[in-house]
Amino acid sequence: MARSNKPILWLPFAGGGLVAALIIPVLILISGVLVPLGLVHLSYDKMAAFAHNPFGKLILFGAIALPAWHAGHRLRMTAHDLGLGGGAVVKVICYGFAGVLIVLSAVRLVLV
């Protein structure tokens, strides 16, 4: 047996778990409860300004990329638990899903 390279997958998973725990609930509260109730208005001007701001881009990217990686890795481990195996297909689907979200958000935030 040799030392595994799992840390490269695990460290962002752990970081993503913490970021997801701290920020995702309030984001869903806003978009899924407060906006429909009319208590918060996410105007185009305000959101566009935030997304144009470099700091805003960083926050948006962090809030998406790390939780997305967390989800991808955890779903891969859960697929194994559910008997779907730990093969290449599972890895491609899970890390691919996370990777697509990360790349798309990075590209879009850089270009917007």
């Binding site: 806003i30 918060v40 979200l101």
Partner: protein, 128 residues
């Protein structure tokens, strides 16, 4: 007499057999809904970049019945993720300060405090 050890294999539904395993599986599946909500956020960024009309359409979709139901499901799982994540953090990162172990309760409380602070900042920034 020769030995003939009997091998038992795990049943695919093993996690349904005991409450503790079922709760574990629910905890793991929180990541599915966090991942799906991240996808929603990515869609939101795309709509934002496509202009005012696209963004307003996105916000309207958030407020649709299916949008709300989906997000409420995501919210329940996200909260459960936060609670379970904070609960196990003291095990992964035990702290010793001045020769005394920091009680797990304190580490957990600190995380809930951070959660509250972050949430408040985001809410204020969103214009509540």
């Amino acid at each position: 007499m020769s030995r003939r050890p009997y091998i038992r294999s795990m049943k695919p539904g093993w996690w349904l057999g005991q409450r503790r395993y079922f709760v574990y599986m629910v905890r793991e599946l929180t990541s599915l809904f966090i991942g799906l909500y991240c996808a929603l956020l990515v869609i939101g960024i795309f709509r934002l970049s496509q202009g005012r009309a696209a963004w307003d359409g996105f916000v309207a979709a958030l407020s649709s019945p299916s949008g709300i139901i989906f997000q409420l499901i995501c919210l329940s799982f996200a909260i459960y993720h936060s609670a379970t994540w904070f609960a196990v953090t003291p095990k992964a990162m035990p702290l010793v300060v001045k020769g005394e172990p920091v009680p797990a309760r304190t580490i957990v409380a600190f995380h809930y405090g951070a959660w509250a602070v972050v949430s408040l900042i985001v809410l204020i920034a969103a214009g509540i």
